[in-house]
Amino acid sequence: MMWRAGLQALLSHWKRSPLQLAMLLLGLSLATALWSGVQAVNAQARASYDRAAATLGRDRLDQLVAADGNVFSQEVFVDLRRAGWLVSPVLEGDARFGTTRIHLIGIDPLTLPAEAQQVELSSNDDLISFMTPPGVMIVSEATAARLSGLDTPPLRISKDVPADTAIVDISAAQRLLGKPEQVSRLIVAPEQPLSQTPLADVAGTLVRKAPDGEGDLARLTDSFHLNLTAFGMLAFVVGLFIVYSAIGLAFEQRRPVFRTLRSLGFSAKALTGLLLAELLFFALVAGVAGVVLGYGIASLLLPDVAATLRGLYGADVPGVLSLRPSWWAAGVGIAVGGTLVSAAQSLWRVWHMPLLAPAQPRAWARASESALRIQALAALGLFGLTAALAHWGSGLVVGFSVLAAMLMGAALALPVLLAILLSLMQKQARGPLSFWFWADSRQQLPGLSLSLMALLLALAANVGVGTMVSSFRLTFTGWLDQRLAAELYITARTEDEAARLRTWLNPRVEAVLPIWNTEGDVRGQPAQIYGVANHATYRNNWPLLQSVPDVWDRVASGNSAIINEQLYRRDGLKLGDTLTLPGGWQTQIAGIYSDYGNPLAQVMVGVDALSQHYPEVSRLRYGVRLNPAKVPALREDLGRDFDLPPQNMVDQAAIKQTSLDIFEKTFAVTAVLNVLTLGVAGVAMFASLMTLSGMRLPQVAPLWAMGLTRRSLVWLELARTMVLAVLTMVAALPVGIGLAWVLLAIVNVEAFGWRLPMHLFPADWARLGGLSVLAALFAALIPLRRLARLAPTDLLKVFANER
């Protein structure tokens, strides 16, 4: 009975302040939604990487691979089987069917260990059709759709095969990849006979590799997901600002009720318990709503994330969300956790509230001089930490720590800076109204500071990420112009057709530049090795970051190579270093070039040297130099004389457009999160202004009584909101630029392996400034409308003696 009565008294507050309750629930739901939405996207992607990593038991079974990373003869497999080794051969590589590139995995179903069984081949018929020509390609449903109508072996669908991958018999793989009698690796069965000839005695060129627990994709994409997580976290923190402010206010307003309940026999423990129960109930309600909303956000984000991951990392993530119960539980859990963190200070105060404390509500969140001083010191400490980490630290986690310390420092410093600035303005003020305006603005600061801090974080994130993306776009566009110098890119369907094309093209165009490449391990990581022709196109256009003086002559002679920025940064290489390429061939590094958007290491050598060391290299692709005006005619001729399909003749503009599309998609998710974070900050501002408007009456009513019209009061209130929003925007600019610098100089280098020059975009800032003023205006609109429409009787209540 006692509990019920107590709870009733506490809950009656919300009945009288439904907007405050709405703000609390909204803040918590939004925070949870953004956080759990991002987590859902990450979980979906990670599950897909795990599936890819688990292909053929790669995450559980040992493998035997060539020490130089190359393919090796099938004879080695036979020798090992004879020596008692239970191993199974695999040949992997990319094959083109039309313009569709598929990752082929050739297996030997008869020797494949049970732990590596990826697909069911249980019946004899299945096995026979799989192993005998033309064989069977086992693919996912999506891949089957992409291959439909193309000249492939018969397809069979299995949900266990990763996207853009096909499992075939090893003999079919050897045929389709043009690697007869070759093997990429051998899977080692977990159970081996006791008596076994040592590996070195049978196959000295092979090494045993431990299972790859995480998988290359998971490693490559870690940084991308960390980026998303950081954004989700930022949005969550911004949302918690609303929750903290709503809880703080509700607790302060209920102080008289708390005192009454205590004096009526509620212990501090019982009262705190009741408040905790009330908060947990709200957290559960908002948590469930937030998770549902988060599901919506995740569904909205996933297609873009999937496109980004495909474009940037070649990772295939299904665009449809499938979620586990653990995700729902985690979402509600974070809502409860966030509520408890936001309420901890208020609960602690209730617990320690003296019974005879004054019943009058204290000025809510009044920032005393000493509190501001402590805040300033904390901000200075965080800025110091930011500088120290940026100077001495390294790694992605340090990069994000720099961001976190800088943002938190800036958020804490904001009220201090605004207080100083408003005091200065007050000292400069001439008229009584302007004097009151600045003094009153300063007094409103504690009540508004949380929402202004949230706005600062959102604006700084917008400026920072916007600067980063725009800098990237500018650099990337220039880089594409340099790098895509050929007017037309042609892909032949067969080696024979390629040879005929070369002969046909040579007299008709200015140059035919081979784009031949192979893949292999370089310095223990998967790499692409390209052959480059000795032509002015490269000398004039290729975007070199560093080079020795006669770089192109040295590359053409076959003695040197140029490497991409990713390989250079990742392995700390420098000009003149020796590089061992697959097959043990050694070359010297003569240059480093930027290679945006490529997660892999890349090496460019002379095209003759490439053919000489890798005779099996695919010779199907060419860049063609000619007068751009003649491109349409040439395409027409190629179509007529070679029956070359349009997709095998791509002009420069189309490739650029595709690249730019991938680029835009890469940052589409960031843009969406940016807008959502700004939206949450807008809601925080609205919540604060609504809250304050209820407390403003006693402060503005005397001015009305002294002869100010309600209209002037409304204008002054509006001006205050605008001034604070503009000042926050101005403060957000340096923070945003700092954030952009950290993203470009630390996080991107760690995450993607390249560093970009920073450009500044004042027009974008002006637009964002306008947007923030507009957001503040909208946030202020309802509270101001309330004030403008306030009946004189409501204002008179302030002066009523019976109040």
Partner: protein, 218 residues
């Protein structure tokens, strides 16, 4: 005539229907004269004061303040009248929390465009506020706050001072000294004073007294 009311009535809508708060009130006040308005709680004293200050409008009747017919003034006109010619003192003090004592004292006078530093200094001294000039309202006792409120009103040299239970929040001794100070300062400025009070004892210290009962002059 500083103030003249003829046939003023006012009622409020309530859940139970219209409630007549004031009915057919006539009164006047000359410059330099002081008038007390007494009555029980709910007798309409504060409402009458609010109507005179232009904070609210009557349903019937005419109110002339400083020779202006309130009915002819819009919201801006009434605000200008309060700013320029009327001073209000409330029981709840209603000081501006963001301004210190010095700025609070000067505020209304500056709004009215009649700030006189010498007069303000004199008021400050006589009200015993000299040592409190840099304090904020929250740092003052009730008596000190009410002295600031009186000082703020008188610093603007209004022709009409309207006081609503100015000593209602103070103990008897403090209330008496604050009232005595106010009366002497108002007399010095030649303003008219209309004061609402519960207390007959305090009311008797003014030139005239009107008693309200059930919204009518008794």
């Amino acid at each position: 005539m500083l103030l003249a009311l003829h046939g003023v009535s006012k009622s409020y809508e309530t859940a139970e229907g219209p409630l007549a708060v004031l009915q057919d009130i006539d009164l006047d006040l000359k410059a330099g004269e002081s008038l007390s308005l007494t009555g029980e709680s709910g007798s309409g004293k504060s409402t009458l004061l609010h109507l005179i200050a232009g904070l609210d409008s009557p349903d019937l009747g005419q109110i002339r303040v400083l020779d202006m017919d309130m009915a002819t003034l819009d919201d801006s006109g009434r605000a200008a009248m309060r700013r320029g010619g009327v001073g209000l003192v409330f029981q709840q003090f209603n000081l501006i929390p963001s301004l210190d004592v010095s700025a609070n004292l000067a505020f209304h006078a500056k709004l009215a465009g009649r700030h006189d530093p010498a007069w303000q200094a004199s008021l400050t001294e006589r009200l015993g506020l000299t040592s409190l000039l840099h304090r904020y309202p929250e740092q003052l006792s009730g008596g000190q706050q009410q002295r600031v409120a009186i000082g703020r009103t008188l610093a603007a040299r209004p022709k009409l001072v309207l006081a609503d239970e100015p000593t209602g929040n103070l103990d008897e001794a403090t209330g008496d000294s604050v009232l005595a100070l106010m009366l002497s300062l108002v007399a010095e400025t030649g303003a008219g004073l209309l004061m609402v009070t519960h207390s007959i004892r305090l009311a008797d210290q003014l030139d005239r007294r009107i008693h309200l009962r059930g919204g009518r002059i008794a």
